[in-house]
């Protein structure tokens, strides 16, 4: 007995022939659960291991990008004297980057109590180690930067101390911007430099996507907080335009079986929905002046596509044929 109607039909034909000729020379059918494996590789078992990461990691990618690029916007705002915007951006950077991001990262660890072991060594060849240091240094710049900025803005101290605070705020905020750009982009390196085919095949695209999505998200949140200025609108356009270009890149730069997780399955849909929301749709909404809707669309897109990329890793890592195809 077989499970497929097609094989059952073939069996019927063979029985007919046996009845008529007394002998059957053709090959039979594969019996369900038969001895010869028909699955790719070794019984279809994954060749590499899919990521063990859960929802904390894609959410961290989102928060880290948002926080890091907020510090960049804060620096621009400081240079061009938008003090209120700089304060809002630094609050965003500190809350998302120095509180939520580390909490999410620690929650994802298998042994959260040992999180400090991340800072035992400094390994430039490990993107995870670099990320731990980047996040630490970002927090070490963003928090003092915010405190100094707030003390200066509220004129808590007078005279030289206030001047010192202003300079310190500037330096810390510029420092957090430098580490912030790395915080927003290193996550692309993190998953790009792995053994998962759909990830490493797109290692050039991933940092651009994560970094630009971070910049657009930071601008979008600040706009939703009421900072409706042309500069942020420009950044919204810039980010959505880059994301649209990446959407085209992703649909042109196909690797067949090796990266099919991006174009098929639920993971492929998450990527596509995310990219449409933070690419073309965000641009169109901005063109029509619907800034809050564009901001919301971009944020949802950025969040969905982060979850999409982790889902892609799980699908691609479980797919033996993708690994073989990527090594052809």
């Amino acid at each position: 007995m077989t499970n497929e109607p097609q094989s059952e039909k073939r069996l019927e034909e063979l029985r007919e022939q046996a009845w008529k000729d007394g002998v059957v020379t053709d090959k039979g059918v594969d019996v369900a659960g038969g001895p010869i494996p028909r699955k790719p590789g070794y019984y279809g078992q994954p060749v590499v291991k899919p990521p063990v990461w859960t929802w904390e990691v894609p959410l961290y990618f989102f928060m880290g990008g948002l926080a890091g690029m907020s510090a960049v916007i804060a620096s621009g705002a400081i240079i061009f004297h938008h003090v209120d915007l700089a304060r809002a951006a630094m609050w965003l950077a500190a809350i998302a980057g120095a509180i939520l991001s580390p909490v999410l990262l620690i929650m994802d660890l298998g042994r959260p109590r040992l999180f400090l072991n991340m800072l035992r060594v400094f390994k430039h060849r490990s993107a995870m180690s670099m990320g731990a240091w980047i996040l630490s240094l970002f927090g070490a710049c963003a928090v003092p930067g915010l405190i100094a900025l707030e003390l200066h803005a509220h004129q808590i101290f007078a005279g030289n101390l206030d001047q010192f605070l202003r300079v310190a705020a500037d330096l810390f905020i510029f420092g957090s911007a430098i580490f912030g750009t790395l915080l927003a982009t290193y996550t692309g390196v993190l998953i790009g430099a792995t053994a998962i085919p759909a990830w490493f095949l797109h290692r050039t695209l991933l940092p651009i996507h994560f970094g630009t999505a971070g910049l657009g998200s930071a601008a979008a949140v600040l706009e939703l907080l009421g900072h409706r200025i042309p500069a942020l609108n420009f950044l919204g356009f810039y980010a959505a335009a880059v994301e649209s270009a990446l959407l085209i890149w992703l649909s042109v730069d196909k690797h067949g079986v090796a990266d099919r997780a991006i174009h098929e399955h639920g993971s492929g849909w998450l990527i596509r929905i995310g990219e449409v929301l933070n690419g073309p749709l965000a641009i169109v909404l901005r063109l029509f002046g619907q800034v809050p809707f564009a901001a919301v669309s971009f944020l949802i897109g950025a969040l969905v596509s982060r979850f999409g990329w982790i889902a892609v890793g799980k699908v691609s890592g479980s797919d033996p044929e993708a690994v073989f195809a990527s090594q052809k």
């Binding site: 059957v24 020379t25 090959k27 001895p35 010869i36 494996p37 790719p40 590789g41 070794y42 019984y43 078992q45 060749v47 291991k49 990521p51 063990v52 690029m69 960049v72 620096s75 621009g76 240079i79 061009f80 938008h82 994802d108 660890l109 298998g110 042994r111 959260p112 072991n117 991340m118 060594v121 060849r125 490990s126 993107a127 995870m128 750009t181 790395l182 927003a184 982009t185 692309g188 390196v189 993190l190 998953i191 790009g192 430099a193 792995t194 053994a195 990830w199 290692r203 050039t204 695209l205 940092p207 970094g211 971070g214 200025i229 500069a231 420009f234 890793g313 033996p320 090594q327 052809k328």
Partner: protein, 297 residues
């Protein structure tokens, strides 16, 4: 080798750790009988917890794959291919009285057993990826996870080109950390042979000096090819960025059938292009922010 008795490298005491000699495993499926003693010995010695008793339906393999709680895994391949000079009768609906019957017909079938294990790469993806320094290289060239240092970040899991290391899930003992074969480093420090090699009844798993094993393996491949095993080959990817493995395998047929990647690469080779892209994005974002405030305020 069988017949060497206690002089076999699988049985005699050694001082490889003290002498800093590189060691390895050579696994030879042509003499494996699929007894799974290596799996049992590994679990027993290393106190690896059981990770469920399930029936896979895949030949006699109910282990599935290497993982956090499976450090040796005996694979059972059932292939419709010739093994050496074996003679197989036809399977299926054939009449032996018929003239069409041919005992050496095109209905070959072979059963291959091979014990899979961590490859202990020359350039190890897990070791490079580990952000805590938990994964180290030992004196004998093996790759060791220090369980008390690992914080379970899971980055080694996606960095292993062979899908060996994994994070142990709850509620197993020591859950949350990454685990894989230790090459019985604790035994080796005391001059003992790894548990799997010690128990292997046919010496399908051979433990010994890496250089000796490589010579032995290529001789074995040559011998098998001369004896009709035309598709016997050594799986030891030395031309790729992994630069060779310390636990290599003799395989019959293509590596894909064993779930082995044909050209494994260490993921660090992707770092350069990924970081270049990251730095370019970082600079572009700073410029975009400056342009935004300079021209759109």
């Amino acid at each position: 080798m069988i017949g060497e008795g206690i002089q076999s490298t699988n049985q005699r005491k050694h001082s490889y750790v003290q002498d800093r000699v590189e060691v390895g495993f050579f696994t030879d499926p042509s003499v494996c009988i699929g007894c799974k003693a290596c799996e049992v010995a590994c679990k027993e010695w290393n106190e690896v917890p059981d990770d469920g008793f399930t029936w896979s339906g895949n030949s006699y393999d109910n282990t599935g794959h290497l993982g956090a709680s499976t450090w040796r895994h005996v694979m059972f391949l059932e292939q419709d291919r010739q093994k050496g000079n074996q003679v197989t009768g036809p399977m299926g609906l054939r009449n032996p009285q018929s003239e069409i019957y041919n005992p050496q017909s095109d209905d070959p079938f072979r059963w291959v057993f091979v014990s899979d294990v961590c490859k202990h790469c020359e350039e190890a993806g897990c070791l490079e990826a580990c952000p805590t320094g938990s994964i180290v290289r030992t004196e004998v060239g093996s790759v060791l996870v220090q369980n008390d240092v690992c914080n379970g970040c899971g980055y080694c899991v996606v960095s292993c080109p062979f899908g060996v290391i994994d994070r142990r899930p709850e509620p197993l003992p020591d859950a949350g950390g990454a685990f894989k074969c230790t090459f019985c480093y604790d035994r080796q420090k005391s001059g003992l042979v790894p548990a799997c090699a010690k128990v292997c009844p046919t010496e399908s798993i051979v433990f010994g000096r890496l250089d000796d094993l490589r010579v032995r393996a290529s001789e074995r491949v040559k011998h098998l090819q001369e004896s009709g095993y035309s598709d016997a080959q050594l799986y030891d990817p030395r031309e790729t960025s992994v630069r060779g493995i310390h636990a290599f395998f003799l395989i019959l047929g293509e590596p894909e059938a064993y779930g082995l990647p044909p050209k494994p690469q260490i993921p660090t080779i992707y770092l350069k292009s990924a970081w270049t892209s990251a730095f370019a994005t970082a600079i572009a974002s700073i410029i975009a922010a400056l342009v935004a405030f300079a021209f759109f305020s």
